[in-house]
Amino acid sequence: MARVEFRQVVKQYHDEKRGTFTAVAGSSFVIEDKEFVVFVGPSGCGKTTSLRMIAGLERQTSGDIIIGDRIVNHLHPKDRDIAMVFQDYALYPHMTVKENLSFGLRNLKRPKAEIEQKVANASAILGLTELLDRKPRELSGGQRQRVALGRAIVRDPQVFLFDEPLSNLDAKLRIQMRVELAELHKRLGATIVYVTHDQIEAMTLGERIVVMNQGHIQQIAPPQVLYNEPQNMFVAGFIGSPAMNFMDARIEGGKAHVEGASFTLGDAEVKALRSYEGKSVVLGIRPEHIYSDQFAEKMNVPKENAMQSNVQVIENLGAETLLYFRVGARMVTARVEPETEARLGQLMTFVFDRRRMHFFDPATEQRIVV
């Protein structure tokens, strides 16, 4: 069984200059056997530190880490039955591919036949068989990445750990590798813990995603849940591209009033927002849920919540067009059909899909659950 569990794991650093720095605040979660879990968040959020603690490369300040059915707190990385793929691949430059792949097994003094077989197996899966005698410097970026993967596969670990493995690849290769990684997961049936700062990677690869910010876990959920039911403003703004729009809204008389429009709310929303009567909340809505007039009709979106505004910026991306307009002091983005006719400065009608509006408490930044 290859589940990974954190129980109130904390990692703190002590620095003479900056005092105590908390890289990971009390984290608790369970990663199930064979699950592909992605840790995502901006730089410094604690995701890589968490990964390293699973690997045993860093010792946690407090809390327990469980891999399989063992508490591994004091176990050396080599005893934790894990394998890791690093961002810069970390291939031993003076060894051939074959030696790179077999290094771990050789250190464990496994029988030669077993090593040969496992290396051959991993090479076959990843298409490395012709490259076995080459040195890393003779390989392309994509090939090096496969060798790094192969080294992990050869160990046949309980848990695979990935530290931003695709960051050093160019965009096209990255997309290709994403697909291959997903297939590899199915094929190996392994538990995978994957760290990235790229939310698209997270959304496409993760069965569940752990969103982190400044050492704290913000939300753990499957991609769709994160997209539709973000727990707070950070998650709402981090997941999805272009990012969710936020604007100030005052709740009064069952309506949400923003500068330039008053939006009617459904019964459920009115009930949920009752305690905010007369106060300000943050209204969030994704660009893809703000429609132009014709687009709204086409998509059967109720047109009751509309506002008129001048187009400030137009970005034509081919498959879609982004229109920017002002609500109060904020710039709001609407994603519309590419055929939409728009000119700079033109006064247009923007339809807000009421069913897709989110409301956040301005102080706690938590989503107001409806």
Binding site: R52, A55, L57, H76, P77, K78, I82, A83, M84, F86, Q87, D88, A90, Y92, P93, H94, F103, G104, N107, L108, R151, R155
Partner: protein, 277 residues
């Protein structure tokens, strides 16, 4: 700047530099040229810029009047041993300071580094008492070698060099069940060859050229290193300039040959350890 100003600058630069190269090389040239001309021991040193008569008499005198070959061997032995010990210990310590985390790492390193500020004169006198009287090692190879087994400068050099190696390799090796010393031996060392080469060369040359400490701890002529031997020869035969020049040439020749053979490492090495602040 304008094309013409640039050209003028280049011309001046070239002229000054060539002149300076001449100035720099002339002393060595003078030494070699002087060593091949036979000055009568009593007459003053009056060599030609280019010898009318070449003679190896000064060399004959140098080798017959002194224990030169033994001196050269002593220098070779001592420098080689010190180079090997430094290669091992300085690299090990440099790696530890660069890549391993342990309590007191920074403090210990700074303390070691601060010793570089202490002038030799402060430590050499008690060191002399320690080695000669307490350890009773007068006139031995051990006495010459012991204080230089691993120098802080070399540790600093290797720390600087090794901090450029990717730490992820060390992490990967740990996960790959490699022992700490195994990581050092199988991963770090093979990747540090250029740094090791620089360390070896600089250490060997520095110890070949070392004078003060060997002067203090050697007594008998047969234990002297070449530098100490040359100094004693200078005082013994103070008027035989020709032979002195011959001796100086012999003493410097191995290092000059080394320099020409491994120039690259010399020139590169200076910047590897260079203090950037």
């Amino acid at each position: 700047m304008s094309k013409q100003a640039k050209l003028t600058l280049l011309a001046i630069a070239a002229a000054v530099l060539m002149l300076w190269v001449v100035i720099t090389i002339v002393p060595l040239y003078w030494m070699v040229i002087g060593s091949f001309q036979d000055s009568k021991a009593s007459a003053s040193f009056n060599p030609q810029m280019w010898p009318k008569v070449w003679s190896i008499a000064p060399y004959e005198r140098f080798f017959t009047k002194t224990n030169a070959l033994r001196w050269l061997f002593n220098s070779l032995f001592v420098s080689a041993v010190i180079t090997v010990t430094n290669l091992f210990f300085a690299t090990l310590a440099g790696y530890a300071f660069a890549k391993l985390k342990f309590p007191g790492r920074n403090s210990i390193f700074w303390v070691l580094l601060s010793t570089m500020m202490i002038p030799a004169q402060v430590t050499l006198i008690p060191l002399y008492v320690l080695v000669i009287n307490v350890f009773n090692l007068a006139d031995t190879y051990t006495a010459i070698i012991l204080p230089s087994v691993v120098t802080v400068g070399n540790i600093f050099l290797m720390k600087q060099y090794m901090s450029t190696l990717p730490t992820s390799l060390i992490h990967a090796a740990r996960i790959d069940a490699c022992s700490e010393f195994g990581i050092f031996r199988k991963i770090i060392l093979p990747m540090s060859k250029p740094g090791l080469a620089v360390l070896a060369i600089f250490t060997f040359v520095a110890n070949w050229n070392d004078f003060f400490w060997p002067l203090l701890v050697t007594r008998s002529d047969s234990m002297r290193t070449i530098q100490v031997g040359l100094a004693s020869f200078r005082f013994a035969e103070s008027t035989d300039y020709g032979a002195i020049m011959a001796g100086a040439t012999i003493g410097a020749l191995p290092m000059i040959i080394l320099f020409f053979a491994l120039q690259r490492y010399f020139l590169q090495g200076i910047t590897i350890g260079a203090v950037k602040g």
